[in-house]
Amino acid sequence: MSDFNINIDSPKVSDEQALKHKNFSKVLASYKAMKLPFYKTLRFWLWTAGSFTALLLLLLFIFNPFEKKEEPYIHQEVIITEPIDVPVVEVNQPEKEIEPSVMITEDTVEVVLDEKMEKKHEMVRDTIVKTQVVESQQQVAEKIGKVIELTPVVLVCGKKSGEKVHKMQLGTVGKLTGHIPELNEKMTVLSFDMEYKVRGENKKLSSDSYKFTKEMLYATDDMKEGDVVRFRNVKCQTKGGMIFTIDEMSILIEDGMTQW
């Protein structure tokens, strides 16, 4: 039930009486006193947009998605430009005329034959092509009956021969690392010599480990942009105990504000 009063036959208000309450000035005063709710004002929207933009910029500053991630230099592939002596493993060849070329990838051994040999060695290829490389280099070589040439690689602070290395990097974390790409095997650098020129004078320093000696680290202070630093007699050892000697590799010194 509604809560209201019913007035019956209340005296009629004449137009004259009603018009006494007409006051446009009062209407205008009330109108001027009215204010839009804050959320409907331009100020609110400017404030909201400004806050949102500031928040967005702050998030971009904290989690910058455009920032380039530096690749860790220790994973860079390096190829030695100068030929080196590597040990050769020879196995008995079943027939002299069969000379398949061999490609070893990470997972498979593939034997590529020319057209003439195709038919003759069909059986050999079928059995070898899909063989997983799970055996040692020697076992693989025995199976495919071919010499495998190894090319050990040495990196200076993760940079290959002929590349630039910042002198700050060289002077703080100077070290040499080695690996054999064909076998995907890392090597430990046992010793190396470092040769460089300071004010026209040739200098030579030696290290008995993979790290730079203190003298070597200090020596980087005198190096300048474009200087060539040579590393000779780099001895590396595989896990299996095989030792390789890399005659020479060189790097270029980089200086300045570049981030390394």
Binding site: I8, H21, S30
Partner: protein, 189 residues
Amino acid sequence: MDLSHSKYHQTQEAISLEEEQLRLALRKPEAFAPIYEKYFLQIYRFVLQRVGDEDTAGDVTSQVFAKALFKLRDYKFKGLPFSAWLYRVAQNEIGMFFRQQNRQRVVNVTTESLGDMMDEIEEDQHEERLQMVLTTIKKLNMEEVELIQMRFFEKMSFKEIGDILDITETNARVKTHRVIEKIRKLMKQ
């Protein structure tokens, strides 16, 4: 108390003039004066019918026109007469007034208008039956009271009622008829 002086039905020329005045008022509030002059009486009486006090009705009416001026940008010239839009604003303001002041709403009726309603209900207009109708009206909800007040006590057309309550003319007619039926049933109990 009917609103026979209603300016609900106007000529196209009058409507165009009114639209021009409203557009002008959007830029300059003082230009709202002719509209205020034109609709003051009918809005005042509409408010007075519900608040029951002349001074209060005057204050609420001023507030209605001030609010209408403030929200003038919300009014669209799309068939809805400006007076109907003003009534809607008035209804909102009256509702707000009762909520804020915690006062009882008033329904002003005349014996004559009650008689018209009795005719619609097909009841004899005896004193006893008139009192019964009034008692029955008290049992209705506010929306139903609003409908019979507009239709029988303020003599509004169904089109006008529909525009004010934001429903169609047919819907206003059907709803009013249902209220009459409800009163009839309640009176028979």
